[in-house]
Symmetry: C2
DNA sequence: TTGAAAGCGCTAACAG
DNA sequence: CTGTTAGCGCTTTCAA
């Protein structure tokens, strides 16, 4: 008991005892069992983190920022990925709950009803639940803390930005990943905005598979279909920078005149597009910042016992930044 | 007790009881507490994973493969990063041991003596310890399972490849990260090989900071220093593709004639270099495969109780693949 | 086939 | 300031 006390608040132990203990710790190489600790105290040191794909640069950045922030609070990340499947997500949440995590972080606001119930129950029990990389549009209720942005709005911004550059026809190349809802929302926002601007708009869908390649193929198919029609200044938005990079390379191969007759606008500011010949314009999102903000929220939430579980979850909004390159 | 039994081997419970239990599970939304389970059984479901930086694409890929593989075995990843600091690594290992992990995965074979002792003790107690992304050279003893490759050898391969392409002067741009030992080993291997081929060789060091930018600056400085000397066909190897990308862009700006007078060879096959104008040649490593192999090793090791703890740890070698682009 | 008893390693609460 | 007691939620073992 005294050792336990020494480890969490050394000042509450007598000088001599402290010295003894410290020596014993050295000699035995003791390290406290965190699982036993959590079990006894009811406070877990683990934060459950669920992302669609660890290897995607935006989520990797987010994990980096999140991990760094949590470390400061003495928390650890248990990470798993869903492969953009809500069914997988439910499974993950279910087993993650077995760790009695101090907090749960997941990507996006779309979940299966069963998942939603599990999460609400967890939150009821006092476990903070955070949805990152997304945000419910104004007027839509959200049960959990959100750190992200409104994808439909970002899609609209993309359309508007292209329109302002003078492109008269707009196209959005959507993700081939069926359950990448955030991409689809950007598409909807893009198309709605185009319509409200009175511009002709088209919704392309990349096929599933390696996205750079699919982006190229989808672009080529679209380009071929345009055929000999007189070229109209066309602005194309993309679900992400991988698709956009593939399209950019293909467009160069097809000798499209950019930016005069054709303007491409990606999303995410992935490293892959950053140094492309000609420059890929994109919407930059600070993924690491999302992770940091999430860690800060969790740390604060866990320390401030004053915060009631019934407090309204809020939204932390990260503004995407438009990067024009090669223009 | 019967519920516990039902959950791990339903067939050892009577039909009726099983039905009852299942209903109760549904109604209550019960999920077993993994921490309590580990504590009681002495078997943890957590695997501790320590990488230099979660956001680096090669490690992100590795985590992706590792996570997918471990999931099949019902294991979870607790992930932390060291920022390429051995001191941090020691800290991480120490706290990770508190999870009584089923296995420990860390990056590289270089550790502080204290870390090494902790790991050996853990292995002694039956916890598999795996070093990824590295391999002790032949003749050097290694205490732990290794999944990776000999970096000095890869450095030598890079030098040889450039030499075979006809470059008469060789340069290696090393990482500015002090404790990126694997990069430094590649440098050493590169330079040693160059010497043994009788070629002039130079060792550059990028500064710390954003690697693409530093790569460009370091290249520019080197180029300026070359001055008006008559151009010799020069092959340059890089610690990684980020530095190489920066150098490639700079070389294009400086109108170096590539590949005729200058050949660049990166390392890692990061996405960022994959679609560069002109094409960045590189050594491709399958990071995801390293993660998969690691997961397979751990799963197998945990299931085969037959394997004695005194078994010699082996080495799983992944061959890098040379990718010439833009030649 | 089921359940009772004991204990994993720790911490909360209280007594000295 | 230190130590005792009880118990976190589960599994192991053994008895019924």
């Amino acid at each position: 008991m005294t050792v336990s006390r020494f480890l969490r608040s050394p000042e509450r132990v007598a000088r001599d005892t402290a010295t003894h203990i410290q020596q014993a710790l050295q000699v035995t190489g003791y390290s406290p069992n965190l699982q036993a600790g959590s079990l006894a105290s009811g406070r877990s040191q683990a934060v459950a983190v669920i992302v669609p794909n660890i290897a995607h640069s935006i989520f990797a950045d987010t994990l980096h920022g999140l991990g760094a922030g949590l470390q400061l609070a003495g928390l650890h990340m248990i990470v798993s990925s869903t492969g953009y499947s809500l069914a997988q997500e439910e499974q993950q949440v279910r087993t993650m709950l077995g760790w009695a995590p101090a907090a749960i972080v997941l990507t996006g606001r779309m979940h299966l009803p069963a998942t939603q119930l599990l999460l609400m129950a967890a939150q009821q029990r006092g476990t903070p639940v955070v949805e990152i990389w997304d945000q419910s549009p104004q007027g839509e209720a959200h049960a959990f803390q959100q750190i992200g942005f409104d994808h439909a709005r970002v899609g609209a911004l993309m359309a508007q930005a292209l329109a302002e550059r003078g492109y008269l026809q707009l196209v959005f190349m959507d993700s081939g990943v069926e359950e990448d809802f955030r991409a689809h929302e950007r598409a909807q926002g893009f198309l709605a905005k185009a319509a409200s601007l009175g511009l002709e708009a088209k919704h392309l869908h990349a096929a599933m598979g390696e996205p750079v390649e699919q982006g190229g193929q989808c672009f080529a198919a679209w380009h071929a279909q345009q055929g000999s029609a007189q070229p109209i200044r066309c602005g194309m938005g993309f679900a992400n920078d991988l698709l956009a990079t593939g399209a950019l390379l293909q467009a160069q191969r097809l000798r499209c005149r950019m930016p005069k007759e054709m303007g491409l606008l990606g999303f995410g500011d992935f490293p892959v597009g950053r140094y492309c010949q000609g420059g890929l314009s994109t919407m930059h999102i600070d993924g690491e910042r999302i992770g940091q903000a999430c860690a800060e929220y969790i740390s604060q939430r866990l320390s401030s016992h004053g915060l009631s579980v019934t407090d309204q979850p809020s939204q932390i909004v990260l503004q995407p930044r438009l990067l024009w390159r090669g223009f």
